[in-house]
Assembly symmetry: C2
Homo-oligomer: 415 residues x 2
Amino acid sequence: MPQHASELRVDGDRLWASLMEMARIGATAKGGCRRIAFSAEDDAARALFKSWCVEAGLDVVFDRFGNMFARRAGREDGAPVVLGSHLDTQPTGGRFDGILGVLAALEAVRCLNDAAVTTRRPLVIANWTNEEGAIIRPMIGSETFTGALPLAEALALTDDAGTSISELLAGMQNGAGPLEVGFPIHRYLELHIEQGPILENEGGQIGIVTGGIGFRRYVFNFQGQEAHAGPTPMESRKDAMVAAARAVLMADTAARGKPGARATIGQLHTRSGSPNTVAADVEMTLDLRHGDNAVLDALEQEVLSGIARMASDQGVSVSWREVANSSAVPFDAEVIAVVADAAGALGYRSSRMLSGAGHDACHIARKYPAGMIFVPSANGLSHNEAEYTAPDDCRAGADVLLRAALHFAEPVGPA
Amino acid sequence: MPQHASELRVDGDRLWASLMEMARIGATAKGGCRRIAFSAEDDAARALFKSWCVEAGLDVVFDRFGNMFARRAGREDGAPVVLGSHLDTQPTGGRFDGILGVLAALEAVRCLNDAAVTTRRPLVIANWTNEEGAIIRPMIGSETFTGALPLAEALALTDDAGTSISELLAGMQNGAGPLEVGFPIHRYLELHIEQGPILENEGGQIGIVTGGIGFRRYVFNFQGQEAHAGPTPMESRKDAMVAAARAVLMADTAARGKPGARATIGQLHTRSGSPNTVAADVEMTLDLRHGDNAVLDALEQEVLSGIARMASDQGVSVSWREVANSSAVPFDAEVIAVVADAAGALGYRSSRMLSGAGHDACHIARKYPAGMIFVPSANGLSHNEAEYTAPDDCRAGADVLLRAALHFAEPVGPA
């Protein structure tokens, strides 16, 4: 890239100020954010982001699934370099997860504007719809974009109250637009907080992400027999809560037995009864992850068959359904190399790592060359109101994003 | 008792018809009842019972806590023999738990009316308020009656929505009345379904209940740390759900290690997060029971200290509060003997047993001579819509109740 372009650096203070202003929408008492997809807060975040993009001279369009794209024209009109992430949060989420990737992309564009740099290819900032999956399931914006989830099917999905996404989008000021879903992408780059403790533990500032972990998510139901807590001897019980507790520990133990594996029971509820009734109906979620699809298969087999056997031994019936499934996905080798080169050229300590979380980049990577850049999460915390990434780390990540984006968009000098 | 009185038998068909008619109020699709205390269904059950009592010539009064008393005058005006139980049910309860004791007492009175038998002492049928504790906590009607729970304190208790019992009673047609709470009782008798499998397993038809089991109930809260399910290695987690699952199994195991002990986790809920977030906030109930207060103390000590140690090891903080506490209570020796004599004279196979459940009789027994009669629960089921006691067993229990009640009320021949 031309010398002057390689000297470009983002304005870390401006990026931080934008992050903090965005964090006021849906701010929680504990310093986090509650900006659930399709909510009034999500809508307000979209409006604020749109106003910033318009100020930066970008064309903002919404596709029929509500995915937002802010376009900076290139000298030529080919497939764009897309930089993106999401502005929605977990119900009790933080200020950085997703937001950093969107606002760092905006900061990169502001920086190009300040330096009057033109690129050969267009640059597009993406804000994907409902990445967190607090409603229905995660990452369906990018899944729909690639066609892996057909649009009609996606729009017909319903939340717990039975409201369809189509209706949810119709209730927003900044929901769906006229743009058809999906367009060719030259390269896709997503800057994101790590959401884990690895970079911090290793003293790294930039994570060069080599791929996305695979995950499978289930909802389990345990059916036992209601009985009075007092007169019913322990040995006569068919206790759905005890069976569920055993299942929780079986999954936890199985994941601890396989390096790199994760098992999480994020939600568990007894659905009937009272404090003095043996529980007969328990529902729980289970999320299993591994970076190697074969190991994930083995983990799944061990956990599911173990739970089935255990429940049978306890006289409790168990059923489950898979509600999400994403195979492990490697990122594009060239994109990985360009991110590594950018981190190196900028002098940042970096580590190669897998992404333990699912990201929109994982869907995009199945269709177009894609990669990710991680920055540290303080104490490894994410999906937590205390989530934090230091200003200097946000700036470093944005600088790597800018440099890698410029590599692919090809600066052709001031306009 | 005079020859003609000892020959009195209840009308089993009439009793069964009354049980089935009452079961239509709050009937559930699965054949049970949902008649939560203070609800419209509870109110309707009280209205029906009141109409039957008035038909039987009884004076019906309500005390200031909503306890209902239907009085049949005796030749003298001393302390009455009280026969009672409750008409409220669990949220998904059955048709017999409590209801049998009230309607069998009514059947006994109908039988005395038919035979024109007068007793020396008055007979009173009691329907105690909120026995099940689906609202707030169990047996507070009888607890208030004996003064163990002061009336003002009881009326100020609030449900989960913050509504006081005073307000709940004011919302009922058949709630609180002008009668001051508490009056002297000569003897108290309660017929109840066993709610466990012991009589059925032993082939017995009548349980001679020697006392009530002690129980303690707690609400636990586990506080861990929210973290993303993917990037957070298993060894970095502070998982409140895993700690709660360990607590469930510790309580279950401890109870299995002490003959006659019970431990029940009837309700457990993750209170924040999502399927892909490590749970940071879990609430669960724990109910511990034993017939011997010293063993119950030891069980409590083992479970509470074990959970505290385990949680600390897991990096999870745990707190708990005791929400109910009832020490084991022996029943009156004379009442036990009279029940045993009645069962023997009527030729029923009987077993002596403790009550594993708390009952209003346990509160009354702390102040007045009291006892209980059990009849079998099919498959030991109770607090369950499938709860069932055969017509012949209902009749047998009512016959024993009538005979024991007559012993204490003293028949003085036709009026």
